[in-house]
Each structure stands twice: as C-alpha cells, then as structure tokens.
C-alpha cells in the first residue's frame, strides 16, 4: 500500500519511538512559517487517533497556569524529532479528563530530562487516580468507564447516574462489533509480510538516530 510505503520512508529519516497514552513526550518542529528556528513542546500524550499516514497524538501541558494541547501528526515532515521522556501506560484509552483534573497532573517542565528504562523491561503502568477540580466538568467523566479518576467527591445523584450509564453485559457478546473494531489475523499477517523486507533498513536507521542522539547528549 502506498500509505505504508510512505510511512516506512519517513521512518528512515526520523525516529518515532514507542509511546502510549500517558507517556510524557517532547516534539520539536521546524516550521518555516513559524517565528524562531525550531520550537520544542513537552507534554503528556492524552490521545492517539487515526491510522496510517494520518496517525496523530495530542500532548497536553500547563504553561503559566494555562492548559495547552497540541495535536501532532506522526508522519508530518515539519516535525524534526519525537522523544519519549517518560515511557508509561495509563489505565484508560484516553486522558481527556485531565482537562477537568487538578493542574498538577498535567504540568511537566519544559526542560524535562528523559527517564531511561531497560530495553526489555515491560512498559510500566501508572495506576494513579487523578483528583478532579471542584467546579463544573466539561464532560460527565463519572459516566464513562474510566479507571484513572478519583470519584470520591461525587454527589449521590451523580453516583446514581454513573451506575445507570454502565455498559451493559451483552456488549461483550457482540461478535461483529468486536470484529469490525480490529483487523483480522490474516490481514495483519499480510501487512507484516509487506513491511518485513524493510525491517533491517528500519532497525539500522533507528540505531543510527539513537547513537547520534547519545553522542549529541554526551
């Protein structure tokens, strides 16, 4: 597929590291239309959307008491580097509730140093229960099945409504919903077979980038 070919070509020029929703990342952009030569943004990844060339992720940070979110498309040529400063997972598929959480959960220093972990170590899962602000929330997070929120401060009415919206049991038996939300095994194998010839070149270029980065840091 042309999409996949373009993605592989891009990955030979830039190292896109492993990251998950909940990882803290730094992205530098060299946009000719922006002021300054390159701009760097550090933030926690709150969402990953789309597939293929349009794959994107959103980073959130609080700077000068102002919450900011920037969405980056992974294969955009304007991006000059993507680093994972803290590799970890969270309990939820997205962290959009951080908008209504206390600011300390979204604040990360712009000069944060990368935290290294062993290559074959499992990805740590951060099971923090985030405390929310006292005022009105943008969305009723208590009604979504989110495990990373501290819901101890809810009113009785809110708790009852949360129970009402619980996903029913029959959803787990919906075979076609499950099938349509993933790629079947044979098609996955086709894709892997298609990109397998490119693996050696990709791995070599990844090693080159990381060696270059370490040499740059040292």
């Amino acid at each position: 597929m042309l999409d996949r070919h373009d993605m592989i070509t891009r990955r030979k020029h830039i190292d896109i590291p492993e990251f998950y929703v909940g990882s803290v990342m730094a992205v530098t952009i060299n946009d000719p239309n922006a002021t300054g030569r390159s701009s760097r943004f550090v933030g926690i990844c709150i969402q990953r959307m789309n597939r293929g060339l349009k794959s994107n992720f959103t980073l959130r940070n609080v700077l000068d008491y102002q919450g900011m979110e920037i969405m980056y498309e992974m294969y955009c040529p304007v991006i000059s580097s993507i680093e994972t400063l803290r590799l970890e997972k969270r309990l939820d598929p997205h962290l959009l509730y951080l908008r209504d959480a206390r600011p300390e959960y979204s604040t990360f220093p712009m000069d944060m140093e990368p935290e290294l972990i062993a290559e074959d170590a499992p990805v740590p899962i951060n099971d923090v229960k985030v405390k929310m602000i006292d005022g009105d929330w943008d969305k009723s997070w208590e009604r979504q099945e989110l495990k990373g929120i501290d819901l101890s401060g809810l009113t009785e009415l809110q708790k009852r409504m949360a129970l009402k919206r619980k996903t029913p049991d029959y959803v787990q038996y919906d075979l076609m919903k499950e099938y349509r939300s993933t790629l079947p095994e044979e098609d996955q194998e086709d894709i892997y077979r298609e990109i397998a010839p490119h693996y050696p070149a990709l791995v070599a270029s990844q090693r080159k980038f990381r060696r270059r980065k370490l040499a740059g840091d040292a």
Partner: protein, 216 residues
C-alpha cells in the same frame, strides 16, 4: 484466494482509519464472507440488547434446523454472527470459558451447544470456505390486503443433511447437438491444420524452384 473479502475490507479499512487507535491484541480469524462496513440497524423495543437477542434467535434456529428462511437483511446480519461463533468454537474448543459463554448466549437451547462443539466443529474444522450459504428466496406472495413484500432469504449451513437447494448440474456433453458441434469443431481444426501444412509445402517448393532458376 481471499479476493471476495478484499473489496469490503478496503472499504472498512477506510472506516478504521478514522477511529481511535485500538490495540490489535486479540487475533480474530478473518470471516470468509463479504461483510458490510457498518452493522445493520434493527429496530427493537429493547434496544441494542434486544437486537442481539433477536440475532441470537436466528443463530439458534440455524444451528438447530440447519436451514432457515426469513427476511434477507436480517438473515445476512445473523449469518455474520453464526460464522463468527463457529470460527470461535473451532479455534478455542469447548474447554475455553469465554467461548462457552458466547455459545451460551447465542444458542438459546442448551443441546445446541453440544451440537455446535460435537457435530459442527468436526464438520468444519478443516474447511477453507465459509460455514454457511445464503440464498435469495422468492418474495412474491399473494396477500389480501396487499402488503409490502420484504425480500426473503434462506440461510443454511454447508454440508447439511437436508435435500439440496441448488439443482444438480446436468451433464450436457452427450446431447446430440453438442456431440455434432464437437465433431464439427474437430473437423474444422483438422482442415485448418492440413491447409497450413499444404501452404508450408508450397512455400518450400517455391523456394527450391527459385534456387534452381538461379543456378540455371
């Protein structure tokens, strides 16, 4: 190959592109039938739960009777679920608890759970084609007062013991006109071959005559 899936796969791949990134941990075997990118909306007083229960009813009837007739779109949808259920049963067997729960949900009679694992799984274990077949059934009915004639369909399991729906193909090779045509074709081919050989021989003779003339 799997060309009959590819057309629909590409359409659903475009839909998948716009969804959030789900993990592909659970490996699901591909369906061997073409499916629509969106599921069929089936209006039900009990909502989505009632819709699934109705589909389970059709799947139950299919497993019990091995052939069912109903409205075409509903049966098409139920067909997907039946194929998935049989695929899961073949992959995991009856000792796997989640598969047992699935069979329990979709098969509303408990003997049919045994039939699924003891009869259908061995029947389809080594199959490379779909487990079900779908036909369009006659829709025209004479009803008074006139009503909407919904398209009807027949859904059946493959290799079922019932009399076949498709007529046996009649061998037509020994019909008289086909025999005569076949002989005519052979004669024509032989004639053409002879003409070619004659032409070649004439060409050789002409060349020899030219050479002789030159010598002379």
């Amino acid at each position: 190959g799997r060309n009959y899936i590819c057309i629909y796969f590409n359409y659903s791949y475009r839909l998948l592109l716009n969804m959030s990134q789900a993990e592909f941990r659970k490996l699901i075997p591909a369906l061997r039938i073409a499916i629509r990118p969106r599921s069929l909306r089936m209006r039900n007083i009990d909502g989505p739960g009632g819709r699934l229960k109705r589909i389970a009813g059709h799947v139950t009837n299919l497993i019990r009777d091995e052939r069912v007739e109903h409205n075409f779109p509903t049966l098409s949808e139920a067909r997907n679920y039946a194929e998935r259920l049989i695929a899961e049963a073949i992959r995991h067997g009856d000792k796997h608890q989640p598969t047992m729960d699935l069979a329990n949900f979709y098969l509303q009679e408990k003997q049919l759970v045994h039939k699924l694992f003891k009869v259908l799984v061995p029947r389809y274990r080594n199959s490379t084609v779909s487990y079900t077949k779908m036909y369009k059934a006659p829709t025209i009915t004479n009803r008074k007062p006139a009503a909407i004639d919904h398209p009807k369909g027949i859904l059946e399991l493959r290799n079922n013991p019932l009399p076949p729906l498709e007529p046996r193909p009649i061998p037509t090779r020994n019909w008289i006109h086909n025999v005569l045509l076949e002989e005519a074709r052979k004669d024509f081919a032989a004639e053409k071959k002879m003409e070619k050989e004659l032409a070649l021989q004439n060409q050789i003779e002409d060349q020899q005559r030219d050479q002789n003339d030159e010598i002379d």
